[in-house]
């Protein structure tokens, strides 16, 4: 029975979220709360220490450059890059995310970014730690190529230990093969 | 075939060996001969030394008789005659003494000569005795050798005869064995279907313990009653581990009663069962 719970809760949550904001991409459902039966409705953000929430960030920005800031933060608000199975190449759809973060880092030399590499549950655990690190390295390379400095970036791989979705199907796995970009 | 060559070779070798032995023994006998010579050397110097030790005394020279003048017939003559007579007497006496002396000397010489002769004779006799002894020894040695040679020939002959006899016996035994084997083979062939049934039943009841050796070859000796009831199962060759041994023993015990042969005359009380994991491990 509990097995069923685990399988369906994220799907249910994703469906709810998708219903609420239809424009969001499938992958962004990562940031949606995965509710555990018996816990509060309070959304929990599983892995990132600092997941960007549009409103809180915006509060601190100057109103004069409001549009630019909005655009910039909108770019930074997508803070996850997803990958194909056993692959570490960054798909073209994430180039804009890389660009936004590279711009942000080069514009803010004191800013630091942590890259958390993850893998889906398939494959062995230690191999997946390697795979997660390889994905984080790919993001790091893309960022430095576009102006970020190595000193601003740190890397950690959790392999499959911190899944975004605890399901055991491709829908869950696709959300777990990722690098999270966490501003510090 | 080979065996005959071997015998031929052996006899040639034996003859050669004997010849060599004979040749060698001649050296041996000469050495034995030498002993009397050495003894003779000890004796021989005594014979020639004897004259030197006792030189032949020269025969005593008669004293030269003094030429005395004829006495005169008168008083003077008588005196002369008396004197002459006395002289004559003295001369006679002297001559007599001389003669006696001479005689004694001669006797003595004769005795010595005799003694010398005796010694010489004794030496001669000793030599002859030695010669004879040597000759006798030589004869004995020759006889002995001849005897040995004869005995060796006799032995070889006997050996050859024994060999021949044995070969004949072997041939006979082989023939008998072949007959027996043929009979046994015929019996074995007749027993085959029955024994396959026995083997199949034991095989069905044999469970090798997991994780046991993959290579072993052991034998269980079964004693059964005519009904096939196993009365004794003894491991005569171990599989190498107690667990495998127990498994093969159990296989036999669990197969009791064993299948019976269709013809009761084919029944054998004892069956030795060889167990191996694969057919090639049995070889």
């Amino acid at each position: 029975m509990s097995h069923l719970y685990i399988r369906f809760v994220p799907v249910l949550a994703a469906a709810l979220f998708l219903g609420a904001c239809a424009s969001t991409g499938e992958h962004e459902s990562t940031d949606t709360p995965t509710q555990v039966p018996g816990t509060t409705e309070q959304p929990s953000t599983p892995y990132s220490d600092n997941v960007v929430e549009g409103s809180t960030v915006l509060g601190g920005e100057a109103s004069s450059s409001f549009d630019a800031a909005v655009a910039s933060e909108r770019g930074l608000s997508t803070n996850v890059v997803y990958f194909a199975y056993d692959d570490s190449s960054i798909a073209p759809e994430y180039q804009s995310v890389i660009e936004q973060y590279a711009k942000y880092l080069s514009a803010n030399p004191s800013a630091k970014l942590r890259l958390e590499g993850h893998a889906d549950e398939r494959g062995t655990r230690e191999y997946n730690v390697g795979l997660g690190e390889r994905r984080a390295n790919a993001v790091q390379a893309a960022l430095t190529a576009q102006g970020a400095s190595d000193a601003q970036l740190s890397i950690i791989s959790y392999g499959e230990e911190r899944p975004a979705d605890v399901g055991h199907d491709e829908a869950a796995w696709s959300k777990n093969r990722r690098v999270q970009l966490i501003r510090q | 075939m080979n065996r005959e060559y071997r015998y031929l070779g052996a006899s040639i070798f034996l003859h050669l060996a004997l010849f060599v032995a004979l040749f060698a023994s001649s050296f041996f006998t000469r050495k034995i001969e030498a002993t009397p010579i050495i003894e003779a050397v000890l004796v021989a110097p005594a014979a020639p030394a004897a004259p030197a030790q006792a030189p032949q005394p020269e025969p005593a020279k008669p004293e030269p008789e003094p030429e005395l003048p004829e006495p005169e017939p008168d008083r003077k003559e008588i005196e002369r005659q008396e004197q002459e007579r006395k002289q004559e007497e003295a001369k006679k006496k002297f001559q007599e003494e001389q003669r006696k002396k001479q005689q004694e000397l001669e006797l003595k010489a004769e005795a010595e000569r005799r003694a010398q002769e005796d010694l010489r004779k004794k030496a001669q006799e000793e030599k002859e005795r030695q010669d004879q002894l040597r000759k006798q020894q030589e004869d004995e040695e020759r006889d002995r050798q001849l005897e040995e040679e004869r005995k060796e020939l006799e032995r070889l002959k006997k050996q050859r005869e024994a060999e021949d006899r044995r070969r004949r016996e072997e041939m006979a035994a082989a023939a008998a064995a072949e007959d027996a084997a043929r009979a046994a083979a015929a019996r074995a062939a007749a027993q085959m279907p029955w024994l396959s049934q026995v083997a199949a039943k034991i095989q069905r009841n044999w469970q090798r313990p997991p994780a046991s050796a993959e290579r072993f070859n052991c034998v269980v000796r079964i004693e059964q009653l005519p009904g096939g009831e196993v009365v004794k199962a003894t491991i005569t060759r171990s599989c190498g581990s107690p667990n495998l041994d127990r498994s093969v023993e159990a296989a036999v015990l669990k197969s009791s009663p064993l299948p019976s042969p269709p013809d009761p005359s084919l029944f054998d009380r004892v069956i030795n069962v060889q167990f191996c994991p694969t057919a090639d491990a049995c070889r």
Binding site: T124, E133, S157 | -
Partner: protein
Amino acid sequence: MRIPKMLAAALMLATFAARAELEITVTGGDVAALPIAIVPFGQVPEAGLDIAQVVHNDLERSGRFRVLKRQDMLQRPVQPQGVNYPTWRSQGMDNLVVGQVARAENGGLYARFFLLDTVRGAQLLGQEIPIRDISRLREVAHYISDQIYEKLLGVPGYFNTKIAYIASSGLGYQRRFQLMMADADGENPREIAASREPLMSPAWSPDRKQLAFVGYERGRSAIYIYTLATGQVRKLIAEPGINGSPAWSPDGKRMAITLSFENNPDIYIVDLVSGARRRITDHYGIDTEPNWSPDGSKLVFTSDRGGRPQVYEISASGGDPRRVTFLGTQNQDASYSPDGKSLALVNTEGGRFRIGLLDLASGEMRLISDGRLDESPSFAPGGAVVIFATQGARGAELATVSVDGRVRQSLRQAGDVREPSWSPLLR
């Protein structure tokens, strides 16, 4: 030559004929689980644990015994005198265990058991074990299992060993990771370490006194060593990047690990006495999951240097690795069997992850599990059984499978459990 030979043959035949002893040959024989019946022990009421049931489960789980179900027992003797051998023989039960837990005249409890060979009607074992602590009756049961196992198979039993594993519960920040230790049958679990950050890859020292594992702290990973006797945890190594896959050398003096501080994950060997470190592989691919051959001369590891992750073998002193897996789309996380003849590994074929046994001599692979996401195989001492992690009905769980793949059993565990590591025998 021909004639004497023929003669000899004829004579031999004649000898046989004269002896009149038949010779037959039986080859094959099934390598089969040993039939055994464990009769419920006669127990005083205060001995709560069903010892016979524990022994039954132990022996059955090993895959090397076929244990008679209780309901099929036609008699239930508690001592050899009461045994009717033909009854057990007729049920094909070659081996029989009877026993008691009783109170001695001095008031102390003891367990007494007999292992009987019903085919020969002989006693193979008979022991009396004083019970000093009734709460440790399970250990006594495992001890009895060990004795029976060793007597009938000729190799030591492994039932009084431990398993270490990782458990987790909760989600997100509430997720809690635990390093756990339990009896080999999954009973008596206890927590060794806990963290809000992942714990991974527990590995027993060969002397069974220490456990190495991977932990995360403030965004960095490290290899830790836990000492059972003192409960102390010390950090062995914490380089930037990956610190993973600890594996003790068979002599316990070195540890193979994965480090990535020199750009990408490679295999290193650390001397645990001097701390000296030696890089064994140097490739831009992922090299990880090293495990030692029983003689300590070689390592197997996972590498994707050929494209997909596969298992490679390399001398413990370095050199050129040799790929050993070619079947399936990928193979990972290999470890040597105790006899060094085969590897247990995670084989992927058709999107399924299953535990495979690779015979190193023949290159033959046998899949011994049938889950979809099975991983982390670890041999029991003696190599009769492999424990692994699988997705069960209640989530991630641990299961054992006999190396012939015949007997699979999942272990009773609460929560998500994974990465089992079987302890060595206590020597």
